[in-house]
Amino acid sequence: MTQNILFRDIDEPGLNTLAVYERRGGYEAMRRALTMSREDVLGGLLASHIRGRGGAGFEMGKKISFLPRGDMDKYLVCNADESEPGTFKDRELMQKCPHMLIEGIVIAAYAGGIATSFIYIRGEYDHQADILDAAIAEAYAAGYLGERILGSDHSLSLVLHRGAGAYICGEETGLLDSLEGKRGNPRLKPPFPAIQGLYQGPTLINNVETLSTVPAIVRMGGSEYAAIGTETSTGTKLVSVSGDVQRPGNYEITLGISSREIIYGLAGGPAEGREVKLWFPGGSSSPVLTGDDLDVAYDFDSLAKAGTMLGSGAIIVVDDTHRVIDVAYKLAKFYAHESCGKCVPCREGTNWTVKMLQRIDSGEATPMDLDIMASVQEEIIGNCLCVLGDAMAMPVGSIIKKFRAELEEHIEAARDRAGIGSLENVIPVGVADEHAGPLPVH
């Protein structure tokens, strides 16, 4: 059962303009929220239990309630630096319905008592940024942004900030540094941005999709929104399905439906006669699942139980015509390029993983290299300021674990091809010792 909230009118011509958006009931939720008290709006968001749609899946209402109260410069930053490979949901939302995002930002800022907000959009989204710029100008002209919005005591400024092409700026503290005009290096946490973020002030950071859902939550009421989906994963979610499927694209699903229904039912599955070999359930940084895991329910907790994560909601399907080593290599190369270089385990670990994968393909590797590679992944996880290193280590680690036989086969084949010789002729160290007989007694 699909209950479309975000995609209800998504292709309506001119939905990116204020007039059409208002005709579709736009900014009604904002009007209503502004007549309510801040506590009631926040209460609604808390009751909805909506979890962040950007990757970490932290409850949005709780994040707002962590902001200190009182009169101070607080900031809201919308994370529109959507760079996770396989993810393109925010792009479609911003391009087609920018006012829904602006409305959500106004409401969320009201709930948090915030007067300054930013949208950090990735630099590659040129067209979407132009649309957002126009929409922000329209909203200012209509009095939905600026001083004393609609005569209430809520004022909000909104600035669109274009990034310049760095994956790491999608990480919240890297994004803050970038927004402050520095290199986008992540910061040490704690203090978390809710306490000390942009310009050292308390900062609320949320993803485009999360903020775009806020008007619907106010319209429906928090508890009614919470009734959609499962108990711990409420609401609907945009899922970006890509890779080897027949109908790639964004689908709005109710959380908790089976993954098979998304991959086969909605996206059409791999081409005729091919099978799903592996798939990433939540962007390229989530541990991979195989064709046997297609019946796992698509929500935060079921995926966590299956040893992976929902992440940004990007499903990448790889069918059986592709080699796992190519997939692992693409991944590792991407993260090695995007590592900001601040923490050693990530900077060196991503780089060495690329080199080890190259060795496998050039025939210089032995199955022992797989163990070394797996241990490198373990050393990265949890040892850096941000999760970029983990984002490579988790999928690569899971690929080594789940496709070890294929990788070993590949190592053998590559050795044969390179003329290095089969491993069968090599006597392993322990075995050689045994053949040597007992050590001489002195």
Binding site: I10, T87, G123, G249
Partner: protein, 262 residues
């Protein structure tokens, strides 16, 4: 390590020329043991250690074009802290000079009251700010995982081959551009086009030369949502409440959707 970039008259991207292993792309099979570089741009460029560090440029001695100055100042005024305007200001300077040249950096530093070194540190961090001269047109070919599953690597080769003769086009393989629904895809001067076939490489160059919109039929901006549950309300009003299914016939077939039954 930086992604390869084809310079005019150069058949292979720079990275691979440096001896980067390319076995997984099916070309060479040996791993150069010492051929690696640092990911820090400029690691192989010598610095003059005898020179004094550059200070904030003197406004009296640094002429800045009026338009650039006005735009950088306007950008600074939009943020609580003027340094936040670094990226917008560098973008603006890049627009003016084609790349973040030493001259451009100097002028932005002068207006923003920052040292050139600070601006260079920022400019070298981001992929879209160029600290080397570049051709006028940018073709970013996404070669990340979703696109490469659908043949982006072959298209990238074809694109490089098509652009070798054209000094005005720079071809780069890029990180995920966020358009995996139209994979394989490319961003041509910011315009997303896809799904691409090998023949499209030549057409992109032709369109760029002719100054036409690039591959207009394949532009992302015209693409409709594929979600069968989307647009039902719009479809209903367009059909005058009569037959909502008529608008989206086969997409709803067999799906248990309460909205499809009026």
């Amino acid at each position: 390590m930086s992604f390869g970039r084809a310079k005019p008259g150069q058949a292979r991207p720079e990275v691979e020329q440096r001896g980067q292993h390319a076995g997984l792309d099916g070309r060479s099979t040996s791993v150069p043991r010492f051929g690696h570089g640092s990911r820090v741009p400029g690691w192989d460029e010598a610095a003059d250690l005898t020179k004094d560090p550059a200070v904030i440029p003197d406004p009296a001695l640094t002429p800045v074009p009026g338009g650039l100055r006005a735009d950088v100042e306007a950008a600074m005024a939009r943020y609580p802290d003027r340094r936040s305007a670094t990226i917008p200001a560098l973008y603006r300077a890049q627009e003016e000079y084609g790349w973040c040249s030493p001259e451009a950096i100097e002028q932005v530093a002068c207006v923003m009251r920052l040292t050139p070194a600070y601006l260079i540190s920022v400019a070298t961090f981001y992929d879209m700010l160029e600290t080397h001269p570049k051709p006028r047109n940018d073709v970013f070919v996404c070669t990340n995982i979703s696109c490469s599953l659908r043949g982006a690597d072959e298209f990238y080769e074809a694109m490089i081959a098509a652009a070798t003769e054209d000094p005005d086009v720079s071809v780069r393989s890029f990180e995920c551009l966020g358009a995996c629904d139209i994979a394989p895809m490319a961003s041509v001067n910011g315009e997303y086009v896809g799904p691409l076939e090998l023949e499209d490489a030549g057409r992109i160059i032709e369109d760029l030369r002719a100054g036409r919109p690039v591959l207009e039929a394949k532009q992302l901006r015209h693409r409709r949502s594929v979600d069968p549950g989307a647009n039902l309300q719009a479809a209903r009003s367009a059909a005058g409440q009569a037959r909502p299914e008529a608008e989206l016939p086969d997409q709803n077939a067999g799906r248990d959707d309460p909205r499809s039954t009026p």
